[in-house]
């Protein structure tokens, strides 16, 4: 095979099957939208139960996180995510899945070195950079 590394990478790229971008985006859109609609349903329900908006919002998040964690534990969530992609990744449900799935996976290594040490393996970077971003925006907000 007479090719430079660069030529080979381009050649391999050109022969590879591509992701079905439009189909993936469509699925992400409607499943992600559906999750948000479910969230809105809970928000309305909690507000109808006379919780004020802030508390109703918190309760909605808790409900969605619980549902996502439960579906992860029941081995269902990853099957939905396979179709939905960013549709299940972006809402708060994706974050719950990213915490629960390593917690389940690393049980064999024990509760300390397994579950506790690995629970934020996937969600950790989000938390780290989330905190940094919020500190930075807080400082900017202070001077505005």
């Amino acid at each position: 095979m007479k090719m430079t590394k660069k030529q080979y990478q381009q050649y391999a790229e050109s022969k590879a099957d591509k992701s079905k971008l439009w189909l993936d985006m469509f699925n992400a859109f409607w499943i992600g939208g559906l999750i948000c609609m479910i969230g809105q349903f809970f928000l309305n329900t909690y507000m109808n139960l006379n919780f004020d908006k802030e508390i109703a919002g918190t309760l909605t998040s808790i409900t969605l996180v619980f549902a996502s964690a439960l579906l992860t534990g029941l081995n269902v969530y990853d099957n939905i995510a396979k179709k939905a992609g960013a549709g299940t990744l972006v809402p708060i449900t994706g974050f719950a899945n990213a915490v629960v799935s390593p917690a389940m996976e690393f049980k064999n290594e024990g509760y300390v070195m397994g579950v506790a040490a690995n629970i934020f393996k996937i969600a950790g970077p989000v938390i780290t950079y989330g905190i940094i971003a919020s500190v930075l925006s807080g400082i900017i907000y202070l001077f505005l």
Binding site: Y8, Y11, L89, E105
Partner: protein, 335 residues
């Protein structure tokens, strides 16, 4: 010298593969080669607490079945050469400890079946052993958690990604009489063409397969139609297409006689495995089951098994390194 050309070893005493055994999971049994395996584990955990233990048990089972089929006792086996994909080859070490057989631990990523057959063939051919077992395994779940994400993590796979085969294959190489012999081996070089995507191992390993196969044909000075079947281990759809096209350019157009175990074991359309199967267990179980039975029945007389491996680690992937590939070729012929 029992060597020809650049890197091919001639096994003059023709060590025989007198028996094989294979163990696979349910998904593999449901695939295109269902029914060609010796034992199917219906539960992925195989009654164990962890996926790693399940993989060890699977490898142990493959060797037990092999010994039973060959009617041999542990003491009659001089060496066992094997490996798997897990860190420090723990699947193999824990699986084979109870056999009390001198052990060569091998890491060749998914090329390990060919590598272990090379070692086994050389020990027998050189007169250092009467019987050597070659064995490898891989398990979808133990590989996922080591190389990728937790099983229940909701992610999407790319079209070029592959599905690790849950399976183990073992072969007994012996100096006894038999019909199926290892005649030549061509250990491969590490070839790195700079592919960095761990979800595209087919493209990363294909250059190594091309290099080893074309070197093998040049070293032996044989025609492209010499083999009834040229087999690669787990290149999948993309790697197979690249290898086929590039070898044809070098005058080795095998047409339909070139197959890839990763594409044979699963039904790519219905089993949701994207580009096909991968893992040490892929080539091992397909060889020990389907291909060995074709040889035994005389439906094919000469086959070149070229197991391919992607020699990356999780550390090298995170550090942005490319994926070095390797491929070892084993010529198996009816004599």
């Amino acid at each position: 010298m029992n060597r020809i050309g650049k890197q091919t070893i001639v096994l003059k005493n023709l060590p025989k593969i007198i028996q094989t055994a294979s163990v696979v999971g349910q998904k593999e049994q449901d695939g295109k080669l269902g029914g060609t395996f010796d034992y199917v584990i219906d539960d992925g955990r195989f009654g164990e607490k962890s996926w790693e233990k399940a993989e060890s048990k699977m490898q142990k089972k493959a060797v037990e079945i092999l010994l039973k089929k060959a009617d041999k006792k542990n003491e009659e086996i001089d060496f066992i050469a094997g490996g798997d994909l897990l860190n420090q080859c723990m699947g193999t070490s824990f699986g084979l400890a109870d056999f009390n057989i001198p052990f060569f631990g091998l890491y060749g990523a998914c090329s390990t079946m060919a590598e272990s057959l090379c070692i086994a063939a050389m020990t027998v051919d050189g007169g250092y052993s009467k019987n050597t077992i070659a064995v490898t395994s891989s398990h979808f779940c133990s590989s996922e958690r080591q190389f990728r994400f937790p099983l229940e993590y909701g992610g999407q796979r790319t079209p070029t990604s592959q599905w690790t085969v849950t399976g183990s294959g073992a072969a007994l190489v012996s100096d006894e009489d038999g019909q199926i012999a290892i005649t030549h081996i061509t250990p491969g070089k590490i070839v790195d063409m700079g592919i960095k995507d761990a979800n595209n191992m087919g493209a990363a390993m294909a250059p190594a397969a091309i290099d080893t196969i074309s070197t093998h044909f040049k070293d032996r000075n044989i025609d492209k139609d010499y083999y009834d079947l040229v087999v690669t281990g787990d290149l999948g759809k993309l790697g197979h297409a690249i290898t086929k096209e590039q070898l044809a350019k070098e005058g080795l157009d095998f047409k339909n006689k070139y197959i890839d175990c990763g594409m044979e074991i699963f039904d790519l359309e219905s089993q949701d495995v994207h580009a096909g199967g991968s893992g040490c267990g892929c080539c091992a179980s397909v060889f020990a089951g389907h291909i060995y039975s074709l040889l035994k029945k005389g439906e094919i007389n000469r086959v070149l098994i070229t197991a391919t491996g992607a020699l990356m680690s999780t550390t090298s992937s995170f550090q942005g390194e490319s994926i070095p590939g390797i491929a070892h070729a084993v010529a198996i012929e009816r004599v």
